[in-house]
Symmetry: C2
Subunit: 134 residues, 2 copies
Amino acid sequence: MNNGVLTIGVLAKAADTKVETVRYYERIGLLPIPARTAGNYRAYCEDHSRRLRFIRRSRDLGFSIEQVRALLGLADQRDRDCGAVDSIAKEHLAEVERKIADLNALQAELRKVIGQCRRGSIAECRIMDALSPV
Amino acid sequence: MNNGVLTIGVLAKAADTKVETVRYYERIGLLPIPARTAGNYRAYCEDHSRRLRFIRRSRDLGFSIEQVRALLGLADQRDRDCGAVDSIAKEHLAEVERKIADLNALQAELRKVIGQCRRGSIAECRIMDALSPV
DNA sequence: TATGGACCCTGTAGCAACTACAGGGTCAAG
DNA sequence: CTTGACCCTGTAGTTGCTACAGGGTCCATA
């Protein structure tokens, strides 16, 4: 039963995804509802595969499901100016940069806290002190 | 009704937390179950307040709930060597550093993708191309 | 033809760490 | 005695999956 028809397992593997994830994407409307075989198996084609790989690649780049949904929506309006695409990507980049800044601050503070440990008892541990604000 | 007794609202505000969060910490066993007033209000004291602030500070530094639980457990064994504290903190620092590395890689890739946009139609958008692996 | 194992199906619950109600009760001030 | 701010319990929602349980299907092999 494969004249260009892909089972969910094959589709998932091609996108390095789990079968459950594929069904999840269908449930939330990211992947269109596929045809079914006589035995009630989902029957996918190349279009589904491309779409799934687009989703995975976007997710790997940290785009949220809602951002992916927006990107997919734009992908179908091929004549539109790509400004909207650009702005979703830039907004996401800004988010990533905020997270990096936050984590860098966190890292500095953790290092400071850890650096104070003099290896005594917990009662006199500076790490614990640092975690106990006045 | 305040001879050293704190309501949940006052406690929460002192730790810059929401009331629901305090109840949540109680439910999962991070905060001890407090006494109740005649009207069935939770009645907290300074110890609770200190403990809550410890929790919040740890959470702000990115420790997971389970890590906080471990730290709180250690806080009660005041004679023990503080090596365990140190190792929880260092493990967390390593995690943070891994996340920073991941985000830096992500940032680089996003910048590359965004830099390719030439502001045409979506059909010819390089960002979309970059999101569509072969 | 029977059977075993790999695959598929639906539906539900779990993870982290809260947050947000709904639908009530309590308390203090005016 | 009413108003409004606070408190109570219990449950469901958030994000993005993942992990079952309890079945059905398909295909190769004995």
